[in-house]
Symmetry: C2
Subunit: 328 residues, 2 copies
Amino acid sequence: MKDVAAQAGVGLKTVSRVVNGEPGVTPETERRVRAAIEALGFRRNDSARVLRKGRTATVGLVLEDLADPFYGPLNRAVEEVARAHGALLINGSSAEDPDRERELALALCARRVDGLIVIPAGNDHRYLEPEMRAGVATVFVDRPAGRIDADVVLSDNFGGARGGVAHLIAGGHRRIGFIGDHPRIHTATERLRGYRAAMAEAGLPVAGSWVSLGSTEPGRVAPAARAMVTGPEPVTAVFAGNNRVTVTVVRVLASLRRPVALVGFDDFELADLLRPGVTVVAQDPAALGRVATDRLFQRLAGSVLTPTRTELPTRLVPRGSGELPPAD
Amino acid sequence: MKDVAAQAGVGLKTVSRVVNGEPGVTPETERRVRAAIEALGFRRNDSARVLRKGRTATVGLVLEDLADPFYGPLNRAVEEVARAHGALLINGSSAEDPDRERELALALCARRVDGLIVIPAGNDHRYLEPEMRAGVATVFVDRPAGRIDADVVLSDNFGGARGGVAHLIAGGHRRIGFIGDHPRIHTATERLRGYRAAMAEAGLPVAGSWVSLGSTEPGRVAPAARAMVTGPEPVTAVFAGNNRVTVTVVRVLASLRRPVALVGFDDFELADLLRPGVTVVAQDPAALGRVATDRLFQRLAGSVLTPTRTELPTRLVPRGSGELPPAD
DNA sequence: CTGAAAGCGCTTACAG
DNA sequence: CTGAAAGCGCTTACAG
């Protein structure tokens, strides 16, 4: 910028004015400055600008896995809202590791993102308190923050699961299994609670062998599903706690002679093309991202004061697998 | 930092030493500095650091759509390589719009990313020449750069398509259709070229009605597919130019009475669960991202000088749909 | 309409 | 082992 000023024979401030489109520059002066910019290939350094201005026009997003299709629409929605506010997006994967989540979130804060959106991997977010006090707007999505009071945007995990299981019960099922994620994950326990509520409301018992929580790796889910449908008290229907579980369960059920009903939490591409189509409790991941980022910018604008909790509805999408009658 | 120095009764440089773990500080001095950091809630401002050091430890990634499952693994692979080099990732979607690609890429350069990975939407990247001259390491992925000489990492689109079509021909098909993306997209024309090469090598004619290029919207692809399988010279097999086309074609073929064979470019989740399983020419999107980012850091390390073109192999995955015999 | 000075929060190069 | 000064490339607040 100094070079441009010298070449154009003007002061630094005048170059700054031209670059930022501020008023108060003669057309002739502006022309000279622009010519110098062109000749020298000048490109404004936003890092310096940021240092002086305070705000970075950047939003940080910590999610579980950039490669997970479930988070794609959420990621894109955050980007779009940020873009509408002139902000760029820095994101990264926690890989479901609380330490990595922390490391990444703090690295983003050190870059002075204006706001931070976190899909928590850990259960203790007190490490973010100093950052939040220092003015980093922070919103948690998909799972609530641990041990701090903060904005959070969730799906109705409890209600969605309860509705999905009630749908199976209404179809005549009395022995229904639940296969879900690790119990340390909030969504997993909420959905399990929904399952238990629906069973209890129908006066149905839940055998211990009908509930299986743990890793969503096919290597764990497949045997669990097989045991449930072939054990001494075989279930006639399975409720799958999330999309990865659902996919594995579909594979297991496809290999059975006897039809077993299935409802899965989370929608996924091609669910309607399978035979039977897979009935799901659908969330709206794009809406999660959109609502969370809107909240973030409201906070940055100073219009939100106390932390709020927003719960987005889910939607039951019947496609066939959840409407299969009990095999017995 | 000034406040910390004052509180600890030391100089600025000593605080800097402690914060950066540099040697040459008495344990006692370090203790005092750390106590002051704790008390004041000091957090180093990386923007200032960046301004002084020159490098930002940031990689920019411009892709088509953060929500597209095809780019998820690529995105994650770029992140992992960047992370291994201590760099963060800023990314964004071009939405297949050349102007938006340009705007985003230049915004990333203004933030002084050390390197830029671009999945091109446009065909003219001369706008990046000043940036590249100024030292921004740039690598193009999936499609080559337009009108500039730059590193590029591609899949073997031509060879993959040729192999997929040859597979159909080997299965006895003689009338094969091709449904692909817009002809302005490099991958689309390369794959079409592969299709034509395979047909020519087998001495097979290609009727004009067997080739359809354009938007990958279901609203365009579905009628095109229907016309191809029901026209006066109906095809007995379809080669789908990418994953989005494949999915729509699967839907169309599922509604037919007569079986039509299908091979699709790009693998996708659950392709093996459909009936029949969908035979695909698989790329390795994670490898594209990994190789490109490795190249980027080689360039930053100064060990790459001339632009290189890397082509990654594809893999034919037979699952049933590509092995259906001709219906007639 | 224009510009000189100070400062954003760090690091570099140097001196003690 | 420690620190004062200069500077990274901008913008702010002010004066002319």
